[in-house]
């Protein structure tokens, strides 16, 4: 999917401001040293996080990583074992869900099956003592926003999955919460609908100016939606950053591997200079030249991670004027997956390691097409990968 994370960042927060870099705003949500234990099991482990007003923050992680528990603590359904949550300067400890300035959109949507769409959406307003007339005119407006104005009288079981998702969104937004929590908001939709809905969600978020925290296990979704992503693993936040930052500059092998796919070569530092580092890798069977300095020591064990789309595969040995002996390896084509826009090659290196390379199919007919069992050369630029120390 073609996405440009940079362009929406500017939309979600006015004028492309990045308060997490400039620190010119008070954080809107402050989570400090939050821990949640269920018996012996630590679901959320000492998480500290600052989220700014009008952000669309994604908590990304596999199942059981604690992201949903963190969200439920924000909503007030779980009480933290220790630590503190502040929303807009207000300490949330001991505040019941019905008194919090947050609303939540549930993964199952949790639409009340015995109420019509209108009544579902109006429920929150009526509980706050808004008059019926007022409430229903707001409901109509909200249903217009989610393009369901003609469906007010229907019951949830008379709606399609996508429509139900929009009712759930409308219901959770009607009270104009300071913070909207979304638990896998698009998880139950099929792929095509999901892509459309992602952009709708961003538009709605921008037009209402509500801060969103989205829990998802889908890294593509997180990349598309968010201003920043917090990657979680085993209850901890392992990296927080803008989508591009998390993708291009992962700080650990876990993040590199979890977000997108990656080839990782284990190796040892063979030459450490101020402006470059060289890594001797048995995995790669070559010496890797990286054109930036890394704080490391000679012979230290580390990992070189490179994305499949940043490697080139050719029949001819790559001609490089400088550094001719670095950053290329020969191998045999093991598998090819033709996906239309892309082709994915699995290439078996001499060391026995298999690397994954993607190539966009720009030509309709390729004279020099790479096919099974060809002997090929894999090469990359000296700026293409990252060095990981953990």
């Amino acid at each position: 999917m073609a996405t440009n994370p940079q362009s929406k960042v500017s939309g979600a927060i006015a004028n492309g401001a990045k308060p997490w870099i400039t620190h010119d705003q008070e954080p809107f949500i402050k989570i400090s040293n939050l821990t949640k234990k269920f018996g012996d099991f630590t679901a959320v482990d000492n998480v500290s996080l600052e989220i700014y007003r009008e952000e669309l923050f994604c908590l990304l992680g596999g199942s059981g990583c604690g992201k949903s528990t963190l969200l439920r603590m924000l909503a007030g359904f779980e009480a933290p074992t220790s630590g503190k949550i502040e929303i807009d300067g207000q300490d949330m400890s001991g505040v019941a869900p019905f008194d919090r300035p947050t609303n939540m959109m549930f993964q199952s949507y949790a639409l009340f099956p015995h109420m019509s769409v209108e009544k579902n959406v109006a429920y929150g307003l009526l509980r706050d003592g808004v008059s019926k007339n007022d409430a229903y005119s707001q409901v109509n407006e909200m249903l217009k926003l989610v393009q369901l104005e003609d469906f007010g009288k229907r019951k949830p079981d008379q709606l399609s999955g996508g429509q139900r998702q929009r009712v759930a969104l409308a219901r959770s937004l009607i009270k104009r919460p300071k913070l909207l929590l979304l638990d896998e908001p698009l998880g139950a939709l099929d792929k095509k609908l999901r892509e459309e809905t992602q952009f709708e969600l961003i538009n709605i978020q921008e037009s209402l100016g509500v801060t969103f925290i989205v829990v998802t296990h889908d890294q593509e979704e997180a990349m598309t939606l968010s201003t920043r992503i917090g990657v979680m693993n085993e209850g901890e936040i392992v990296q927080v950053g803008e989508p591009r930052e998390v993708y291009e500059f992962p700080q650990s092998r876990f993040v590199a591997d979890f977000i997108g796919s990656v080839n990782i070569f284990e190796g040892r530092v063979s030459d450490d200079a101020i402006d470059y580092v060289r890594i001797k890798s048995e995995d790669a069977n070559c010496e890797i030249h990286v054109s930036h300095g890394v704080s490391c020591t000679e012979n230290q064990k580390l990992w070189f991670a490179i994305r499949p789309e940043k490697m080139t595969v050719t029949h001819k040995k790559p001609h490089k004027t400088k550094l001719a002996k670095f950053n290329w390896i020969s191998g045999i084509v093991d598998e090819i997956a033709y996906q239309g826009n892309l082709s994915v090659y699995r290439i078996k290196l001499e060391s026995g390691k298999v690397v994954r390379i993607t190539k966009s199919n720009r030509l309709r007919h390729d004279e020099d097409e790479i096919t099974w069992d060809d002997k090929v050369y894999v090469s990359w630029e000296d700026t293409a990968g990252v060095v990981l120390t953990q």
Binding site: A75, G76, F77, A96, P97, F98, R100, T102, N103, M104, F106, Q107, S108, Y109, A110, L111, F112, P113, H114, Y123, G124, R127, D128, P156, D157, R164, R171, S172, K175
Partner: protein
């Protein structure tokens, strides 16, 4: 494909015959002219007329309906509370014990329930003076007790299937827990409440053994009256009464089945 007499179709016919032949013959003989229950002597509705002129049977029917209505309603309230605690309250000391104890009356013989309740009522009367004597009140208490177990089981399974995030969503939208219970939980489990109530009503109407133990003078339920009448010889007006009850029950089941379409939770 032409089917010959397969085992399953024969079994189905025989099974239904086994279940319904007695009832069908009972209905047919309720329209019998003759006083002899087993000899057909032409069509007549005189036993129905006679039935509605018998104050003993009408009185007993009224008492039974009253008892069934009140104890089914009480059983619904108590049984729902019990089920709610068992499903919603996670792990508390004695939860399994409580769960077992609530369902015990389902498997306990009626004779034992009746006898133990009788002993309880007698000792309560001598200790606090309540319930004074045995009659309507004691039967209602007894029926509520054992019907509650059935309600708890029915409601428990429905509550267990209910998506808990429905309640959380209501809490999240600003409803206090009590409000959530009445706005969300009750309507969602209402089919179970209706079937629990109907089940309790039927069980109470049907009960002979427990009622015989805890009943007192002036509080003979319909089954008790029928049973005592039958011991003096089966008279055709009992057939008429049974036919009326069957028709009422069949109508009740029909209405319940058409009204309660299973609702899925979203």
């Amino acid at each position: 494909m032409r089917k010959s007499f397969s085992f399953s179709s024969v079994a189905t016919v025989l099974g239904f015959a086994f279940l319904y032949a007695p009832i069908v013959s009972l209905i047919i003989f309720s329209f019998n002219e003759s006083k002899l229950v087993t000899v057909w002597a032409g069509f007549s509705t005189k036993w129905y007329v006679k039935l509605f002129q018998d104050p003993q049977i009408l009185g007993a029917a009224w008492i039974s309906l009253k008892i069934a209505f009140i104890s089914a309603s009480l059983a619904i309230i108590l049984g729902t509370l019990a089920a709610y605690v068992l499903v919603r309250f996670r792990r508390f000391l004695g939860k399994n014990l409580l769960s077992g104890m609530i369902t015990a009356p389902l498997v306990m013989p009626d004779v034992i329930i009746g006898l133990s309740l009788l002993l309880l009522f007698i000792s309560m009367e001598s200790l606090f003076g309540w319930p004074a004597g045995r009659g309507l009140t004691t039967i209602i208490i007894a029926h509520t007790t054992f019907c509650m177990a059935y309600v708890a089981v029915v409601v428990q399974s429905r509550l267990g299937d209910m998506d808990e995030s429905l309640e959380e969503a209501a809490l999240d939208l600003g409803a206090k827990p009590v409000r959530v219970f009445f706005d969300i939980t009750l309507p969602v489990i209402s089919p179970a409440l209706v079937s629990g109530w109907l089940l309790s009503f039927t069980l109470s109407l049907d009960d002979l053994v427990i009622a015989s133990f805890v009943s007192g003078p002036g509080a003979s339920t319909l089954p008790m009256v029928i049973f005592s009448k039958v011991r003096l010889g089966v008279s055709p007006d009992i057939n008429a009464l049974a036919t009326i009850i069957i028709v009422i029950v069949a109508l009740g089941v029909l209405v319940a089945a058409t009204k309660m379409k299973p609702e899925k939770g979203y």
